[in-house]
Symmetry: C2
Subunit: 479 residues, 2 copies
C-alpha cells in the first residue's frame, strides 16, 4: 500500500479539522468506505485498537469482570421498555426489517448499546443474593445513525467495550461506577498519556436511563474537549422495568442496582488530537504499535549496515520492545524519516556506514526531535530508558497544554471572550439549574463537560443567573 506517500499535511494552526483528516488518512489509520458514515480501520489504526483492547481488557478482567457476548439485534419491544432510554436512542437506531426474503414481524434494532438485552438476560440469571454481583463486559460493534460523522470521533458503526453489572444495593453500584471511572482514568493517563478531568455529568448530559453519569474529559490541541469515557450508575430504573429481582439474605425480594460503562474507538481520535503536531501523529510509547523504527542509511557497505540493523532489531525485540526495520529499497532515508514521524513512532534509530565504524547508532526522539548517539552494545537498555522518558514527556506536554488552556470566567461575557480568542476549558460556577446550562450553550456553543470531583470554586455566583452557588463546572466547546 505504498500509495500513502508522505507529502505536506495542513498545519494545525491553519485548519485543525483538515489536519486531522490529513493525518488519519496519510498515516494509514483509516480509510473512507462505500458505506456512508462508516470507516474502514486499516492495519495501523487497528493495531492501536488492539493495544487498547489488550491493556484495558486486562484491567477490566483484573477488576473481576468476565467477557461475554450478547446478540447484535434487539427486538423493538425490548428497546422500548425503558422510557428515557428509548427516547435517548430511538432517533439514531438502524432497523432491520427484512430477513432473507421475508418481512419481519417485529423490527430489530441494531444495538446502539446493550442495556436492554443485557437486562432481559439478567432477569433470568439473577435469583438470589448469592448470584450478585454480576460483573460482565463485552467488546463489540455498535451502530448509531449519525447525521454528520468524522472517523473515530463519531461514526455510524464503531467499536467499543461495554461493561454491565448488577449489585445488591446502591452503595455497591456507586462504588463500581466510580471504580470503572478510575480504571479508565488510570488507563487513559498512564498508557495514552492524556490527562483527564474526572467528574459527574449534568442531568441534561447524562446517559438515557441512568441515575448518574460520570465521565472523563480530555482536551484536544484545538482547545475543544472530548468525552473520553463514561460510567453510569443506572440505579434501579432498568431493574424495575425488566423485573430483575433477587431474594436477599432474609428471603425478601429486592430489585438489583446496576451500572454500565464504556470506551470506544473514539479514544484513538483523542490520542491523535491530544498529542499530534504539524509533522503528524505523536504516539506515546506505551500504546504505540511500533515503538522503535530502524532506518538503515545505505551506501557502499550496505550489506554490513543491513546485517547490523537486523541484529539490532532482534536484540530490541528480545528485550520486549516493539521494533520494526524499514529496509525497503525504493525509498530514501529522508523520505522514511518523514513517513515514520507522520506515523508517530516514538523513537527512530539511524545506522549508517560511519556509525558502523564507530560501533554506534543515532537515536532520534519523535516528541522533542533530540538526537542522541548510543553504543550498539548498550542499545536496548538506552532505548528502554528513552521510551520511558518519552512517555513521561508526552504526558507532561499534554498536561502543560491543559494548564495553559484552562481559564476562569465569572460571567457569560467573559466566557464568550475566552472562547472567541483562546479556546480550552473554562472553569465557572453554575447554580445547577438546567435553564442556565441551556442559555450558556445557546449563547456560546459551550457545554458543561462535567462537574469535576476536584471542586475549586472560582467565584460565589452562577455564571448565568448570578445566584449564589458552590458548584464549579468545566465549560468547553466539545466534539
Amino acid at each position: 500500500m505504498s500509495k500513502e506517500f508522505v507529502k505536506e499535511i495542513t498545519a494545525q494552526s491553519e485548519d485543525f479539522s483538515q489536519w486531522y483528516l490529513d493525518v488519519i488518512l496519510k498515516a494509514g489509520l483509516v480509510d473512507y468506505s462505500p458505506v456512508k458514515g462508516c470507516m474502514v480501520i486499516k492495519p495501523y489504526g487497528y493495531a492501536i485498537w488492539e493495544q487498547i483492547q489488550n491493556i484495558l481488557g486486562q484491567m477490566i478482567k483484573d477488576t473481576g469482570h468476565d467477557n461475554m457476548y450478547f446478540p447484535l439485534f434487539i427486538p423493538e419491544s425490548l428497546l422500548q421498555k425503558e422510557v428515557e432510554h428509548v427516547e435517548g436512542f430511538a432517533p439514531e437506531v438502524a432497523w432491520v426489517t427484512q430477513g432473507g426474503q421475508n418481512e419481519l414481524g417485529e423490527r430489530l434494532a441494531i444495538r446502539p448499546t446493550s442495556e436492554t438485552i443485557v437486562c432481559a438476560m439478567l432477569a433470568d440469571w439473577i435469583q438470589s443474593h448469592r448470584d450478585l454481583p454480576v460483573l460482565l463486559n463485552q467488546w463489540a460493534n455498535v451502530v448509531r445513525w449519525e447525521k454528520s460523522t468524522r472517523p473515530f470521533l463519531r461514526t455510524t458503526e464503531f467499536l467499543w467495550q461495554e461493561g454491565h453489572t448488577a449489585h445488591a444495593n446502591y452503595r455497591e453500584a456507586e462504588d463500581e461506577a466510580l471504580l470503572m471511572l478510575d480504571t479508565y482514568t488510570d488507563f487513559v493517563q498512564r498508557y495514552l498519556a492524556i490527562p483527564v478531568i474526572k467528574g459527574q455529568k449534568s442531568e441534561k448530559e447524562k446517559f438515557a436511563g441512568a441515575l448518574q453519569t460520570y465521565s472523563i474529559e480530555a482536551l484536544m490541541k484545538d482547545g475543544k474537549a472530548l468525552q473520553a469515557g463514561t460510567s453510569h450508575n443506572l440505579g434501579q430504573h432498568f431493574a424495575k422495568v425488566f423485573n430483575i429481582q433477587y431474594s436477599n439474605a432474609q428471603g425478601v425480594l429486592e430489585y438489583v442496582w446496576q451500572t454500565s460503562w464504556g470506551v470506544s474507538t473514539r479514544l484513538i481520535g483523542g490520542l491523535i488530537m491530544a498529542h499530534g503536531d504539524d509533522r503528524g501523529l505523536k504516539l506515546p510509547p506505551e500504546i504505540a504499535p511500533i515503538q522503535v523504527i530502524i532506518v538503515p542509511i545505505l551506501a557502499n557497505n550496505s550489506k554490513e549496515v543491513l546485517q547490523t540493523a537486523n541484529n539490532l532489531a532482534q536484540q530490541l525485540q528480545q528485550a520486549g520492545i516493539r521494533v520494526q526495520l524499514d529496509d525497503r529499497d525504493q525509498y530514501r532515508p529522508g523520505w522514511k524519516f518523514n513517513e515514520w514521524e507522520m506515523k508517530g513512532v516514538p523513537l527512530r534509530i539511524e545506522i549508517g556506514p560511519k556509525d558502523l565504524e564507530k560501533n554506534q547508532l543515532v537515536l532520534v526522539r519523535r516528541d522533542t526531535g533530540n538526537k542522541t548517539v548510543a553504543q550498539l552494545t548498550t542499545a536496548s537498555s538506552q532505548v528502554q530508558e528513552l521510551l520511558i522518558k518519552i512517555q513521561t514527556n508526552i504526558y507532561r506536554q499534554a498536561q502543560e497544554f491543559v494548564t495553559s488552556h484552562t481559564f476562569i470566567a465569572k460571567n457569560i461575557t467573559e466566557l464568550k471572550q475566552i472562547l472567541d480568542n483562546q479556546t480550552g476549558y473554562v472553569q465557572a460556577m453554575w447554580c445547577e439549574n438546567q435553564e442556565c446550562e441551556l442559555q450558556v450553550k445557546e449563547q456560546t456553543r459551550a457545554t458543561i463537560r462535567n462537574i469535576p470531583f476536584n471542586q475549586q470554586p472560582v467565584s460565589e455566583s452562577c455564571i448565568c443567573c448570578g445566584k449564589p452557588t458552590r458548584t464549579m463546572v468545566y465549560f468547553a466547546r466539545a466534539y
Copy 2:
C-alpha cells in the same frame, strides 16, 4: 449464577441432540436470547472463544497477516456485483432499511461475509506489483438468516475470523489458500485435539464465487461430520468484477488473484461434540479456560486445608497453569466434582485433611477418571506432565473414534446400509459428476464432505453410476 445446578443430562446414546443442548446450557457456555436464532455466549463459552482468538490469532499474524476492520454494512449494489456470490448469499441476508427516522435510499446488507466490501477497498489500495501481496484478516460478527438454528453450529449471528488476501498470480493465491488450510489443520488438531480430513470441496459445495474451496472436516461423536474451516482460492472472479488491477514489473495491468478463509464459533460446537461424553464436556488442556480445578475437602481443620489449597493455586498459576480454586461453601465436594466434570476441566485436584497430614494431594483426570497421588512439593511439574498426557490422550481417543467410524462403500446400497446402522465417514469413489452427487444425497442424505488430498482409491468405479474413476471422496451426513 448458581442456578446452573448439576443434574442428569440426557445420555448421548439416547438422544445426541438433546445431550448437546443439555451440556451447552448446563455447562454455562450459552443461553438462548430473546432474539430468534441468536445466542448469548456466556463467560465460560466466551473464554473458549478468547483462547481460540489468542492462539489462532497469533498463528494468523505469524504467517504475515494484519488485522483490520471493515464495516458491518454492505450496500445492496455492492453485494450484487458478483453474480454467483449474490445468488449464494442473498437468500440469507438481513437487510437494514431504516436509519433513525428515515427510510434508506438503498438497502444495506448486514455482512454475511465481507468479500464484496473488501474488494471495493482493494480496488483503491492496489496499484502496483509492489503493493502485493495484501494479507488481511478481521475478527468480526456476521449474520446469515437461517431457518433452523442450533447454538454454535448454526446461528443467525455468529463470530468468526475472515482472511482476505490478494496476490500477483494463481500460484501465490493457491499457495496462500493451502497455507491457511494447513494453519487451520495445525490449530484444530494441536489445540482442539480434533483430527481432521483435509481436502477439496466439490463444485456443488464450494463457496459462492470461488474457483476452489478447501475444507477441513471433523467427525462428531454421533457419527455426523462437521465442516470446521474453509479456505477459498477466489481466482480472479472478484477482481474482474471489482476491477482490482495492478501494474506488473513490465508496467502492464493485470487482475489480482485472491483468497479468503474463515473459521467461526462453530469450532466450539465441534469441540463439544468431538470429545464430550455422558458426564458433559471434555476439554483438551491446550484450549481449556480452566485447566485445573482445586476442590478442597473441608472438615475439622478447614483453615489449613484452604490455606494449602490457596498456596497450591498460586504455585500452579506461577507455573503458567490456568487454575481455579473452588472454595464456595454452599456446595459439597461431590456436587463440585460433578459440576467441574460437566464443564470439562481436564484435571481436578482434591485436598483434604488426610492429604494434608501426608503432605500430598489427589489428581483426577477428566479423560480417563484415573486418580493419582502426588506430593505437594512437586505438584506443578506433575500437573504439567499430566496435562500434556491428557492432551495427547484426548486426541488419540478422537482419532480412534474416527478410525472405527470410517467405512467403505462400493455402491449406494452399501452406503445406505452403513448410514442406517453405524454412522460415520464413508469412503467411496465418485465420477465427479454432479448428477451422481445429487442422487446420493437424495437417496441417503449424505453429502460429499470433501475430496481428500490423501487419495486412497477404494474401488474402480463411481458409487452411483458405476463409471470408472480414480477419485475417492468422503461421504457423511453432516451438520
